[in-house]
């Protein structure tokens, strides 16, 4: 699936808040068609990295290139129009309307109306939102809310989707359907960058993971190799991850 050319490429990405160094000199590449995971302990700079890539935060230093052109100073909306969309936990949905209306609104935000891509009906089917179409968004349970958030993001048909902790607060069943969803999105041609704490999900899902610690890259590579890396175990996992054990999450 991965063709090897970086779709999104960050070089020397740095974010310092005064003396606090959230990210220092990160080189990150996301290749077209892959699912890239970013993991690390709390405060390791995962979310900061994601926010810089999506234009929510402007990096103190470094550059970001999308399909080869410099997008370092682009704002969120311009990046979104160029095909890079991020959903985060706290700003996910249009709350005061029905799910149907919310999706209509999302559809209206689509940059290219002619491009076929996924139709709203397909998205509804894929995310199992059919049974809640007439309910008010903000009254939905968390699992549905997340799905509406993702539906809105893929509704604008991005090339790259960045997900900030999509599994937080979901139960196992919901996490499993999230995994299937992301795999299906990749099949539909999407490139996905994902930050989450759920190691089982990440290992099962990602083609490649980057491990961050105190704002620097500790390790990267295939998930199965990375979780055996002693440095990673020491800094993040605490104990070697065994695959049938569920306690890892």
């Amino acid at each position: 699936m991965s063709d090897g050319t970086p779709l999104l490429e960050a070089t020397g990405l740095t974010m310092h808040y005064g003396a606090v160094k959230a990210c220092t000199d990160l080189d990150v590449q996301i290749r077209g068609g892959e699912i890239l995971g970013i993991i690390g302990p709390n405060g390791s700079g995962k979310s900061t990295l994601l926010k810089m890539l999506a234009g929510h935060l402007r990096p103190t230093a470094g550059s970001i290139r999308l399909r080869g052109s410099d997008v370092t100073r682009w704002k969120t909306d311009r990046l979104a129009r160029a095909g890079l969309v991020m959903t985060s936990q706290n700003q996910m949905v249009f709350g005061g309307v029905s799910v149907r209306e919310a999706l209509q609104i999302g559809e209206a935000c689509r940059r290219d109306t002619r491009n076929a891509g996924l139709t709203t009906a397909q998205i509804v089917e894929m995310l199992h939102l059919g049974e809640v179409l007439d309910d008010t968004v903000e009254e939905l349970p968390l699992g549905y809310l997340r799905r509406v958030g993702i539906a809105l993001a893929i509704g604008v048909q991005p090339d790259i989707l960045l997900l900030d902790e999509p599994a937080a607060g979901l139960n196992d069943e919901e996490t499993e359907s999230l995994r299937e969803l992301i795999l299906r999105l990749r099949e539909a041609g999407l490139t996905v960058g994902i930050v989450d704490h759920d190691m089982t999900l990440m290992v099962a899902l990602c083609d490649r993971v980057i491990v961050l610690d105190v704002g620097q890259i500790l390790a990267q590579g295939e998930p199965h190799d990375v979780i055996k890396d002693p440095a990673v175990i020491d800094a993040y996992l605490g104990s070697p991850l065994s695959f049938d054990a569920e306690e890892a999450s």
Partner: protein, 642 residues
């Protein structure tokens, strides 16, 4: 040089008073996000009480203390009896404050009349240095304000209550979690803030004569200062009041006094465009335009069926002519014409409000641009109705776009103030640019009135139908707009601005265009105003009208019919009672408060909710429930963070 020293001194003394108002506003706003329009009237009432007490021969300081108590008491009562119930929706608080302002102003007018009075100075006399004169009274005013500021800062920093107040201001939810009674803190903030207003009233009363009418102006100045300093920021309010007080006095003595309002509103707009969070705040202010908050929690209602919608449409179409034809005399007919003219403006505003949720207090300004473009063309070039329409529409759209561009840079209450300043600025320009607009005298239309077949502007009947058709077109446009791709993009801004941005919308551009579109509707309404009233003067488009247009919108409530109903109720009902103007104001203010407290969503949504209940009762359908409960617990407990 001496004049400069004198001016700066007077400016600093004036700023001491502005600080007292602004501090009170900041106190209340910091906790409640409420702009209490009645705050300026607390100021005035306290001043009158002190005035009466000094007339009885009491010492100035005793009178001042009494004024503080009166202010504090007014604050306490208004919070306990009124504002406590509006905390869910800041715009409702705004309207209730306006209602209270009207009521208190009417009360003051009834007791003291409209004449200005002056509180005797604390100390008479003074001393001169060169040709400057420093009166003891002004020095006392300054000393009291400075001492009070020092005490306030000290108390906020180190007293237990002060720290609790600050905690509640920083984060009400967290404060409640650590055991602070936030509701009580709000009450205290009202008491302290209004007590400061009471003192400010007395002090200002010794500097200049004041009348019952001064509440409006004071609250806008005080609010400007509080905003410039950054709302909720006491030291910022102090710095801003000095800058503003001195700046205003300098403009008044070195330029033309007429320019003072232009200076005030110009400064507000420029500052907020470049420092959207206030002069002394580093940050950007909040991300959200406050649109969702502003509407409060939306109670979604069952969508009307096609049949019901058709019925409403037919009834509305039948009601408008019936209303006019049943009007008993030409006075009532003239009122309905005015109501229709206002309705067009309210619809113009709802183009912005219904879609983006932004409430702007500038519609009278846009209406002014439309009407005056037509008026100037008629007066200077002798051009008629169609030319007026042809030119006014793009010109007003341009002004609307400019307003939208400014608005796009502001958030929350800063946005409200910028729009208010925009409206006031246009009014001042129309007043000052005499060679173009004929200033205060206004423009009288000498043109031949146009006609469209059987319709024209000759009789009240013709006027009413022409304007009603324009209003109907505006409604139709709004209904279509909501279903278009563009309309849905605007809804995205209303529902969640930062998400809209994340999904790739050009939020600023969208806001600019919708304000331009609102300007188009306003322009048509403005030209119709010109050709039906045949005389326009700046006074017809004062900021008060901008505020009234907002009141009509809130009264009617969301929905396509709300604006028309709001406008008719606003214009006609107070007249029906046949009271004297003061009594009318009193009743109207009280009615406004009652309506907002009893029907917080406005007439139309309240009526719809009642109708839905009735339908359910008749058909015995159970209330709508949400059928998504699965047997597993809906929200899994937050996972342990690794």
């Amino acid at each position: 040089m001496d004049i400069l020293i004198q001016t700066v001194f007077n400016g600093v003394v004036a700023s001491a008073v502005y600080f007292l108002i602004a501090a009170g506003i900041t106190f209340v706003f910091g906790l409640t996000k409420l702009i209490n329009f009645a705050h300026g009237q607390f100021f005035v009432l306290a001043m009158f009480v002190a005035y009466e007490l000094t007339r009885l021969g009491l010492n100035f300081f005793v009178a001042a203390a009494a004024a503080i108590v009166v202010g504090a008491l007014l604050g306490y009562l208004s919070e306990r009896l009124l504002f406590r119930f509006t905390s869910a929706n800041p715009y409702n608080g705004l309207i209730v404050g306006l209602g209270l302002l009207l009521v208190l102003e009417a009360v003051a007018l009834k007791i003291w009349g409209g004449f200005p009075v002056r509180v005797p100075a604390s100390f008479s006399g003074g001393f001169g240095v060169g040709s400057s004169f420093f009166s003891y009274n002004r020095i006392t005013v300054l000393a009291i304000a400075v001492a009070l500021a020092a005490v306030l800062f000290r108390l906020l920093k180190s007293s237990r209550l002060g720290q609790q107040l600050q905690a509640a201001h920083e984060n009400p939810v967290a404060a409640a979690h650590v055991g602070i009674n936030v509701g009580r803190m709000v009450t205290y903030a009202f008491i302290v803030g209004s007590g400061l207003a009471g003192l400010g009233g007395v002090l200002l009363g010794t500097l200049q004569p004041m009348s019952a009418f001064d509440g409006h102006g004071l609250i806008i100045k005080g609010f400007a200062v509080a905003l410039l300093g950054g709302l909720g920021n006491l030291s910022g309010a102090m710095k801003a009041s000095v800058l503003y007080g001195v700046g205003e006095t300098l403009v008044a003595s070195y330029l033309i006094p007429d320019f003072v309002p232009i200076f005030t509103y110009g400064v507000i707009i420029v500052v907020l465009v470049f420092r959207p969070g206030g002069l002394f705040e580093k940050g950007q202010g909040s991300e959200q335009t406050f649109s969702r908050n502003s509407i409060g929690r939306i109670h979604r209602q069952r969508d009307l069926t096609r049949g019901e919608r058709l019925t409403v449409l037919l009834v509305a179409l039948a009601c408008a002519p019936m209303l006019f034809e049943l009007a008993p005399d030409s006075h009532a007919q003239a009122l309905l014409v005015v109501a229709a003219l206002y309705a067009v403006q309210v619809y113009a505003l709802s183009y912005v409000y219904e879609t983006t949720g932004i409430l702007s207090i500038a519609q009278a300004g846009l209406m002014l641009v439309g009407a005056y473009t037509g008026g100037v063309l008629a007066m200077h070039l002798g051009l008629g109705f169609w030319w007026a329409l042809l030119v006014a529409v793009p010109v007003t759209a341009l002004f609307g776009g400019a307003l939208g561009f400014i608005v796009a840079r502001c958030t929350g209450h800063y946005l409200l103030l910028t729009t208010l300043a925009f409206s006031a600025l246009l009014y001042q320009v129309a007043l000052t640019a005499q060679s173009l607009t004929n200033g205060d005298n206004g423009i009288i239309l000498a043109q031949e009135l146009p006609s469209f077949g059987p319709f024209g502007f000759e009789s009240l009947r013709e006027q009413f139908y022409v304007i009603a058709v324009a209003a109907a077109l505006a409604v139709g446009g709004l209904a279509i707009l909501r279903r278009t791709r563009y309309g849905r993009q605007l809804l995205a801004i209303r529902e969640n601005e930062s998400l809209a941005r994340s999904l790739g919308l050009r939020v600023g551009f969208l806001k600019t265009t919708i304000f331009a579109l609102s300007g188009v509707v306003s322009a048509v309404g403005g030209v119709l105003y010109l050709y039906s009233q045949r005389v326009i003067a700046p006074a017809s488009f004062e900021t008060a009208l901008s505020i009234e247009i907002v009141i009509m919108l809130v009264l009617g409530g969301r929905g396509l019919l709300g604006p028309a109903i709001g406008a008719v109720v606003f214009v006609v009902v107070p007249e029906l009672l046949g009271l004297t103007p003061i009594d009318q104001q009193l009743v109207f203010g009280a009615g406004l408060i009652a309506v907002i407290l009893l029907s917080p969503d406005g007439f139309v949504p309240t009526f719809r909710a009642g109708y839905n209940r009735l339908v359910r009762m008749i058909s015995r359908r159970p209330a709508e429930t949400y059928n998504i409960v699965d047997p597993a617990p809906q929200v899994a407990p937050q996972k342990e963070v690794v």
